[in-house]
Symmetry: C3
Subunit: 130 residues, 3 copies
């Protein structure tokens, strides 16, 4: 059920962007118990002047490769799971496409499980009485 929005500067190859999508999905599978095939990811590429970030924040030095990952998920995960997710995404993206860990920005938006419809006009995560 996560809906993943990935924003970065324009100029990376399809393989590079695909590796980011793969890593985020795999990390969600491993740390958030996301089911197989529950993978919805939207990538937006930006010109530099439309993608504003600091050079440094909290001692973290960003490069032009910064990736901002915003994930909407159900509000069912613990703080420990969130920390595991952050670490796993950063670890996997370091491996492929080879990002610096500093360049992985992640934010989670939480919603109720009843707030999802995966198609057919139905709220699939709401238990039905029938």
């Amino acid at each position: 059920m996560p809906l993943v929005r990935i924003d970065l500067r324009r100029g990376k190859s399809p393989a590079y962007r695909n590796a980011i999508c793969d890593g985020v999905y795999r990390a969600l599978r491993e740390t958030f118990n996301v089911p197989e095939s529950d993978r919805f990811e939207i990538v937006s590429e930006h010109e530099p002047d439309n993608f504003v970030h600091p050079q440094n924040y909290l001692g973290i030095a960003y490069s032009d490769d910064l990736v901002i990952i915003q994930i909407t998920v159900s509000d069912t995960r613990s703080r420990e799971q969130k920390q595991a997710l952050f670490a796993r995404i950063a670890g996997l993206l370091t491996e492929n496409p080879g990002l610096r860990k500093a360049d992985v920005f992640i934010n989670l938006i939480e919603c109720k499980t009843e707030n999802w419809s995966f198609g057919d006009g139905i709220a699939q995560y709401v238990a039905t009485a029938s």
Copy 2:
């Protein structure tokens, strides 16, 4: 007050995209009691490699026409209203532009009523003492 983000693959006509916007707005009017003219909808079109989705999830088979609709709304609606919204959006988009029901993905982000400013620098939904 809903802020609607609609994401889909590039290649559809303005009329097609407009029909999606119309259907979502009409469904919000009918099921969420959204006032007339409360219509703010942002459409983003994507290349295939930037719009990642599974072939199947929860028994739902997606096509390349998948539309992902993410709506930020005040946290004042019941579960039943949400279910009615999902069904109505899917129903209307089936009529026009003729989407398959499976291809209508919807997610709701909820916020407090005080979190909106519709212009003029004012939080219009906060009751004023003056």
Copy 3:
């Protein structure tokens, strides 16, 4: 920690868009006590048919210069701070790039402080026991 998404019609200069980013950041600094350099802003420009808004809502008359600003922030601010933020953003954007106050639409999405990772795979706002 705010993550700012700014959406507007295509056609404005880099200086114009930069002024919007500057104003939002400055208003967040002044009213939400956002630390220096905590500035992450993504601007998306749209064709007219992908940026749908009414001519009027709640007595506010919009022009084609409407800017929709959606800010994800930690859920630690009061209603009064939100009202101050809205007023300050609208005020600053009126000065530069010279927007009409009516054309400044703002929405806040709130999340827990534990929902942020600013890099390095760590949830920086979670107190560590070590």
